[in-house]
Subunit: 280 residues, 2 copies
Amino acid sequence: VRVDNLYLKVINLNFLILYLMDTDMLTVVMIGTGNVATHLTGALLNAGVQVLMIYSRTASHARVAGQKWAVPATSEWTDLPGNANVYVYAVSDNALPELLARELAPQAIHIHTAGSVGLDVFGDYKPKHGVLYPLQTFSKSKSLNFKDVPLFVEASSPEIHQVLKSLALLLSEKVYRVNSEQRCQLHLAAVFACNFVNHFYAIADELIRESNLPFDVLKPLIAETASKIDVLTPKEAQTGPAVRGDTSVMDKHIRLLENYPELKDMYEIMSKSIAEPGLS
Amino acid sequence: VRVDNLYLKVINLNFLILYLMDTDMLTVVMIGTGNVATHLTGALLNAGVQVLMIYSRTASHARVAGQKWAVPATSEWTDLPGNANVYVYAVSDNALPELLARELAPQAIHIHTAGSVGLDVFGDYKPKHGVLYPLQTFSKSKSLNFKDVPLFVEASSPEIHQVLKSLALLLSEKVYRVNSEQRCQLHLAAVFACNFVNHFYAIADELIRESNLPFDVLKPLIAETASKIDVLTPKEAQTGPAVRGDTSVMDKHIRLLENYPELKDMYEIMSKSIAEPGLS
């Protein structure tokens, strides 16, 4: 498997090199120093891609990122080199339009990494463009294996798609082609499966500390809940009072939440939805 | 480690034997054949405990469980032997009071496995009683390592507590003593951390299938979300539009949920709660 992957890497890198023509090495400029930018920069460097420069509008962020990766970094837009093959914008959705409107390498490939921003954000300033959306939750202080991160690619043309697909395959073993609509729906599903899930971990953390027990006692349950869906559908995996219709337990729990109206609302809406599954 | 565990097992089994006096082997009757009963029966047999009989009010359930474990099984209450040391009631909360009111071995130890039912459910019929609450999500068709399941013990007296603690240590490496109030709070936290979490997996499953993509693409995200809390607190681990205050993404997502008022409500209540954390 290792040899195969290496072979695949070489093939893809050659493909990129052949396509790009005017360079003998794939070069990237990374715009952004947040969670996604940090993990993506690490994955690019790990795959042998040359990161020419990192940009952040905040000088201290640029400095920290540059030191972390031993890559030149700047907070001055005009410092950015114009000769990179690919410019990656891993920034907040709100910051994207303004950054894309700035003058920078109009003939290069420009890509963003956002789940819910369409291709139209590139306007006419950057004719060669696309998206590389990593479906994962990234925190700077938590490392992970980028090879397992599903990457969703969209591009302004079949040619650019080939380039981005090849680039994506250097980084991950799971590369998919989607359109903007699918990507937005993916992002929405991810918010439920990750951000909202994690918020329930945070609520459980607060609830359990009220009973003077450590959050650690919940960890085997959390791990098993995530692990069950490898062998069962989430619907099959469901347990607990709501799916059993155990009203006496639910009534007790709701009484415990009497002083937390927000949690009481959540408990009621979630229990009702579990009891009557289906999107409606 | 293996030798130590074996030693601990022998010590505990000896303790039980010494305490129980009137038998040279710990014997259990299992009342129930649901998810908890199934996993607990397996763990008891695996620990060398003799399960004398399994009871279900449904004859076919009793038959299936009896065949699975090669243990006598019945749906006739009067068949149950009166000479077991411990009677385990792993049944729904609603069924407990009626079953505990039935005539059966008044001098034996009777325990239930429910999260949100106090000791008072035993009334005066069974003076030696307690609770062994496993904090885990059990499905019959998903195996797991019972040694990792946190077990929460409560008992009618210090003597019975010692017996139940010893029994629990035969089954799991994680045994805690709690009172009924703490156990109910634990159960409530578990509903958030497991049942509600799993329901978000189910919703994400439905959302992602609407975009013609398989649920599998979400699995690395789900695994990483659960894995992150081993190194970060849930609050530190949070990512996504709500914690970033990215209103443009949230507005897009809410528009996608226009036809699903229940999911729209969930999206709004969860996002608001993520943005303003803390129980209130």
